[in-house]
Symmetry: D2
């Protein structure tokens, strides 16, 4: 299954070269991740407030195929790429209105105990909520 949400390229996402600043693509990815976890009942606000298990990014990567301009409307498609014992990976595709893939992002998140700062097993509630969106590349 795939989760989908909408984004718009804002002035603050652009730079003086005239298009998206590459770092801003990670903003779209994280916005989509926050919408995704809210949708599956694991809202990020509660995760941070509870300070039980956190899921910091340990690896991130992005590809850029089409220069994005201010005002471009994007559909961001989210899937779970991997569900490990102590980590998970997310994949995001940024589609323009005409269907072209403007860019893609991948993030790998560790499961970390907020109390100890150490790696810990992925909570069952996360595994269960994410599982329907697990999609091989």
């Amino acid at each position: 299954m795939e989760f989908s949400c909408e984004s718009v390229v804002r002035l603050y996402d652009s730079d003086a070269a005239g298009f998206l600043f590459f770092g801003a693509q990670f903003r779209f990815a994280h916005e989509a991740l926050e919408e995704f976890v809210a949708h599956i009942g694991q809202p990020i606000g509660a995760t941070i407030r509870d300070r039980d298990v956190l899921f910091p990014v340990v690896h991130a990567e992005a590809d850029y195929r089409v220069p994005l301009a201010v005002g471009d409307r994007l559909s961001v498609k989210v899937v779970v790429r991997a569900l490990g014992d102590r980590s998970f990976s997310m994949a995001y595709r940024l589609l323009l209105a005409d269907g072209r893939e403007a860019g893609s992002v991948m993030t790998v998140h560790a499961s970390v105990s907020a109390a100890t700062g150490l790696s810990c097993p992925l909570p069952e509630r996360v595994r269960t909520a994410f599982a329907p969106y697990l999609t091989a590349s």
Copy 2:
């Protein structure tokens, strides 16, 4: 008349003190401004692409009343505070779901010729489109 749009406080809007980084409130204001100008038929993408008249911010200010947390959903209310010969002012109120005003922003924009970089009269098309939203404080 008042324009309204929705925003969400994202992880990247927050800081290590646990709440909204103050500078991020200007992101919400500008996002709302971009939605507003799109709504009235003056989309920012075209304004930048045409490079005829630009509207840089010459003054900005913000008040902060309620600490905002990641995941908070905001309704941003936009009005035109002033329409001058060569500038305009916008006011934004950020409302939480329970109706409390979490913060407010004001931005003053000059009308500047992209060719010369000098102040120029506010284009009639902008004045006409903005006028219905002109609201004294």
Copy 3:
């Protein structure tokens, strides 16, 4: 007394209109504030880690006089504008290499107990460290 530090306008501070995105000027101000408090022995890292008293921004404003381009080198001049019982105000001037004032920023910070979230007296250590930089406008 005045504190001074250096900054550079980065690509990520600019936008597709070709110059500084207005919100980025608050980044320069906060960078200068962080350098200032480190200089006077009240580093922000410790303030956040200790979670005793925090100093959230309750009001911020900025003026923009010269469009800033990527690569521009700035000297940021910092003074304390006011030292109240439960708040303080900072003023920042952004100077270009040729001495022109490109912009200015003001931030007002409340003194807030991290435990209760309520207003509290400005700690004496802060008042003492800030006092030499108190400068009327």
Copy 4:
């Protein structure tokens, strides 16, 4: 040869989980890139102003090994990882004061004609200036 510059983790780089927001690591990388190209006589301000050949990021990736806190001082080490006919790759290592590698970044830049938006050969002046820093991984 390796280029080195200094950075500080700022409040605006952090998030409510208490550490560096992962996207901010790309800010450090680009800041270091801008310092590097200034050092070798190819300042980014001139590149953007001249609008001859631009070097947009077509791929970026980052690894995160140590959580970074506000106030942490970083030494960013920059090398050229590859110099292709129409692209180049940069590698960045973020070192803490105690020598630990907190994170690393890689960016791949295409050589693109600003006039046509199409891929073009890497200018000789860039190849010559970058060559001394070419370092296999």
